[in-house]
Symmetry: C2
DNA sequence: AAATTTATAGACAGACTTGTCTGTATGGTT
DNA sequence: AACCATACAGACAAGTCTGTCTATAAATTT
């Protein structure tokens, strides 16, 4: 085992890790295979033996990111007992990220934006990801409200909180400031139906 | 004057028109200068005499788009007397666009996503554009509510309606369906403070 | 009508793109 | 010790990219 910093892990992991950083920060089109290869300290042939194409690497990366992201997201929600705290937990995802240098918003949305073909596997993955997030809002975050609301009203509440969440990410990336996140969080909390006396 | 369809207008206009179509539909990175040149029926030297670089062409396009977009947006708002109809007018922008083939959401957001440098002129233009939209929501759409609300509450209402607007565009682009727009519109209308008896 | 601006076509430079290929070295298993 | 999978380095192909340049033609202005 060498001490070369580039071989802290196996090639495949190094490639995905580098791709994660570069695709996220620079975008898909603006990142070349050669940069990924050189920065991950891997031979070109090794790269192509692990990933048949640039697009399939991106897909593998997004798949991994989706898994990890959703796990974190669910954790931050599950540790709270009340809906308002669970919503605050949702937003803590972004509060943590925006503190890091070079905030780039939602990696899934940014990626989808570079693929204009709606049938592309990347687009499909992003669609599925977002739908899962919306489902989690419905079943995990706001579940307490489902029995006490009209179904249509409940659905609209879920959508509203979900759309505010996404709008806030986009605008925070745009203005590079936390106010959209603060604002969306406050508004989401205010939108929760007030229970009168009874604990929800 | 020839009858060649490529010279229906002057070269500069043809270039911007073609760039508008291609940048919007395919994205900035995925669109090459050569495609713009050939599809606008213009010589390469002519192109570079009008626009010193690809990025400055994109900037010129976005500038023109911003002007026209805002004009339409204001028109759709100004023709209504009540806040709820003005909000519906806001969303009519997207109802019209999504009917066209190959809906691609917000051209400004998509463009900004491809430029990771926050200091880039493109990013600055998009920031300014979005801030102008938010200002219009505050001064033109919701102005009736300003005097009857606490300043902070009014600000939050403006932000909420603005963030829902953007979230809906993004998600409509993602799922290629109108439900996010419908949902955001309904929620926005419900968020308006109810006046009891007095006309607003 | 002459002069000047503007457009044309397209070759060209030089860098960059993804992906293939050859050959060598290394590490682990039998 | 022999073997095999894996990783390495890097040349190479074939094409793309932006941007420059030359030389000719058309349109506009003086």
């Amino acid at each position: 085992m060498t001490l070369d910093p580039s071989s802290l892990s196996k090639p495949r992991e190094r490639i995905i890790e580098t791709a994660s950083r570069l695709f996220f920060r620079q975008g898909y089109c603006s990142t070349g295979i050669n940069q990924i290869i050189s920065e991950s300290g891997v031979a070109k042939a090794s790269f192509y033996s692990h990933f048949p194409s640039k697009e399939l690497l991106a897909l593998a990366w997004l798949g991994q990111r989706e898994e990890r992201w959703l796990m974190q997201f669910k954790e931050r929600i599950a540790q709270h007992e009340s809906a308002d705290k669970r919503i605050t937990g949702m937003y803590s995802m972004w509060y943590d990220q925006i503190r890091e240098e070079g905030y780039r918003g939602c990696g899934f949305i940014n990626m989808a934006g570079e693929f204009s073909d709606e049938e592309s596997p990347i687009r499909a993955l992003v669609r599925d990801h977002k739908e899962r997030v919306r489902q989690i809002v419905a079943t995990d975050v706001l579940s307490d409200y489902r029995p006490v609301m009209k179904p249509d009203d409940f659905g609209e509440l879920v959508n509203a909180i979900y759309l505010l969440f996404d709008g806030a990410i986009i605008q925070t990336q745009n203005v590079m400031h936390v106010w959209p996140i603060d604002s969306a969080l406050n508004t989401s909390l205010k939108m929760l139906p007030q229970s009168r006396g009874e604990a929800i």
